[in-house]
């Protein structure tokens, strides 16, 4: 197993990580020669808790790439996201040239016999050299404890969730992040507070969030117009139909929103408010945000870090049974 990477510019990698660092302490990095996937899932409850999948283009991130693994050229590592971020931040602060990232055997702490040696425990090592004020060259070495996820291991069979039956695809405007602040205001202390997401393609699009407590209150916060909506059936995602003219912000790249009668129905997804709000940082900082909804089933936020569309971030929330 071998992993050797060199890079100069870590800014986009760092930004991506910082968007998801508050969600969980540990992440899985899956390196392949072409793609790096940054995956944040709940270890014990992969399907019910929200999942984040970031896909980054290796060639645009790293200047030199060397990946070798026994069967496939895929290496999956689990490590602490905070350590990774801290190392990257230190590198950026140091005004250095090249950052070398490589996989290394763990140093066996003394007092541990070779029996306890576990070859899956490794270190992801960051090395760069910097110079201080008196122009001394100092080489900096960071060793982040990491665990190699082997094939057959449950975490390694991590697959990107496939949402079947997308009912509604909605392009969210950049200003949408403000809505999270509204929702935050109504948040209560309870951990399991739920929010019902309602969406429809009618009248230029409608996206509403309903906070409700039986016999007490019902609050609806909604985005009522100017949404690019594409409604579809299982098989009709790509089908073209008349464009909803009420939408003034037509995107030339996505000129296929449709409002046929079958899709005119309202889509409903019940999720935990906490889960939904966790994506606020992503929505506030990303471009081209699309919300995909599967009625009573799931919702997915899909976006790109910047206009280059090289870094793709997906946030999956499975619906709660109502």
């Amino acid at each position: 197993m071998k992993l050797k990477l060199t890079t100069r510019d870590t800014e986009r990698l760092r930004t991506t990580l910082s968007l998801i660092s508050h969600v969980r302490k540990r992440i899985v990095l899956r390196f392949t020669p072409t793609k790096l996937s940054i995956i944040s899932v709940e270890e014990n409850n992969v399907t019910e808790e929200p999942q984040i999948w970031c896909k980054l283009n290796m060639a645009s991130l790293f200047d030199s790439i060397e990946i070798q693994s026994v069967k496939t050229d895929t290496i999956s590592l689990e490590l602490s996201i905070d350590s990774f971020l801290q190392a990257l931040k230190n590198y950026e602060k140091a005004n250095s040239h090249d950052l070398h990232i490589r996989l290394q055997k763990r140093d066996i702490p003394e007092g541990e016999t070779s029996k306890q040696k576990n070859s899956r425990l490794v270190s992801l090592v960051f090395v760069y050299s910097s110079s201080n004020e008196s122009s001394n060259s100092v080489s900096n070495i960071f060793r982040i404890p990491a665990k190699v996820l082997k094939h057959g291991h449950s975490s390694d069979t991590l697959d990107e969730p496939v949402i079947e039956g997308i009912d509604l695809i909605m392009r969210l405007p950049n200003e949408f992040a403000a809505l999270y602040k509204r929702l935050e205001k109504f948040k209560k202390s309870s951990q399991n507070e739920m929010v019902k997401i309602k969406a429809s393609a009618e009248n230029g699009g409608f996206l509403g969030f309903v906070l409700e407590e039986e016999d007490k209150y019902k609050v609806t916060i909604s985005w009522n117009r100017n949404l690019q909506v594409q409604a579809s059936h299982y098989d009709a995602i790509q089908s073209t139909s008349e464009y909803s003219e009420t939408n003034g912000r037509q995107d030339p790249g996505q000129d296929q929103a449709e409002t046929n009668s079958a899709a005119a129905k309202t889509c409903r997804v019940l999720v935990r408010l906490r889960d939904w709000n966790m994506a606020s940082k992503i929505v506030a900082n990303c471009e081209n945000i699309t919300l995909l909804l599967a009625n009573h089933h799931a919702c997915v936020l899909h976006c790109y870090l910047d206009d280059s569309e090289e870094i793709e971030i997906m946030y999956y929330i499975n619906a709660l049974k109502s």
């Binding site: 602490s80 100092v138 960071f142």
Partner: protein, 549 residues
Amino acid sequence: MSFVGVINKDSNKTIWSKAIQSLAGISDYIKIVIKAEALSISAVNIARTSCGEIEFKKSFFYQYDVDFTNVIKDGFQLESDDGDGDHVASYSMIVNSKHLIALFKNIDAHDLEYICLQAHISTDTPSAVLYKILVEMRASNRILRKYQVNYEPVLQKKVDIFSQYKKELYDQNMSEQAGRGVQEGVKYIMVDQSIPRQFLDMMPSSTEEFGIEVNQEDMLLSGFTNQIVKDNEYIKQPMSVAVALSIDDLVHSNLHNLSGDSSVRINFRLKYFRNFMQLVSSINTKSATALETQDNITSHYESIENSEEYLELFFKNPGDPILFELKSNRHLVIQYIQVTNDGNSNRVERSGKHSKHTSTQSSLKKRKESKNTNAFVLQPYAIQKRAAERQSLPKIINSHNGASHDLPPASTGVAQHASARSDADRPADQLFVPESESQTEEAASDSNANFDLTFSGDSRQDIITYGNDRNTGSIPFLKPGSDAEEIRKPHVRELRSRKINTYGSSETNKRIIIDEDTEYETGDSDDGGANQEELGPTQGPKRPRSILE
């Protein structure tokens, strides 16, 4: 008055505050040693593995006066200097660090005109101020704050590891010219203090251990956590951080003389080293800001000197203590001693040629052992343990008894009451002899006379209180009897009594006793005698008073 130290520079006030804070992080007790040329404060942690000492040179203070004539025997020592047989007189005391923290933490340096520290250590000290450090701070809004911090006089055991290492190093340098290596001897490194500082900044806060490894080519600093963890806990460990730099980039070292492929690696707990480096960096950054705010030339020079501040490291082999020293702008020397883990618990952080140690015992156990087997153990010189005091108790009491006949009396009932109260606050095994035992009326009148004599004609009396006249920009000393003082007095008294209420209610157990009824005040009302004038402005009727009244 036997000791007076006044700090008036903003940057120095901040340094003082930071130094106190730093030492308070090491121990509950801070030792203060007063010498003729310098004041040093130090602390040893409870496990006696780390020791920090900060020496403030006389030039650090605006005013620094020590007089050892008729000094109280407790705490007074004459040490012989190795060099020329001269004797260095010193007076040592320990103070509860919480009290100092309460006084000096978060002081607003710009708002304070001065910090004045005083101690009466002569045999004719009035009992009300015996074993007390008198602290006086005046804010620019003309509020004068006075505190009394109780101390215990101690006899110090000198930590001579520094001088020993330096001497060894010197001898080594001599013999090296004859071709001997430094494998077994003292290794010396002088490095820009920004390197270890920046290194510590990079480290996760949960990192526990710090290591230094040197060989002929380079020096490696590493921070790591040496835990034995289950596999699934492994990735929860903080990452380890290391920086390496070539020995050629060091300001100075004797490591070129290391032979061949040998390397030395020592490691120790990071906690107190971090504390030390924080002090170092806070002193540096503060001087930098002082440059911006103060436009005078001296601070500019200081900052130039600061930019050339180097950290010096002296160490030998694993298990031997490592010493750090930083000399800051000629006024200040910061020394830090850390006992290191012994050779067996050495962990090879670098993968490669040095991996020899495979051991089955846990490193924790080893670390404990290493403390016992160290060639050097930090002596409990800053006598923190009551037990240590008890050992030396008989001697001290004797000397104290001898001296106590010369003690000035608590001449009124109020003062008696006050001192009795402070006695009651003390634990039973204290070094203090209750006033009632040693005082008779005769002795009282005798020593009263002595007391007057000592202070009359004492030229230092007019520098005891500092009035910083901001209008003129100079600092004129308030002369006794000047009009301004007369007017200020009632205000001060009111302020003090207000303080007593707040202190008395919440902190009865603390030994900061703000005593409104010092014998000076009662003397003022009872006798009003002519000798009061000799007491000096802070104690007598001539002490600073508010102009506002």
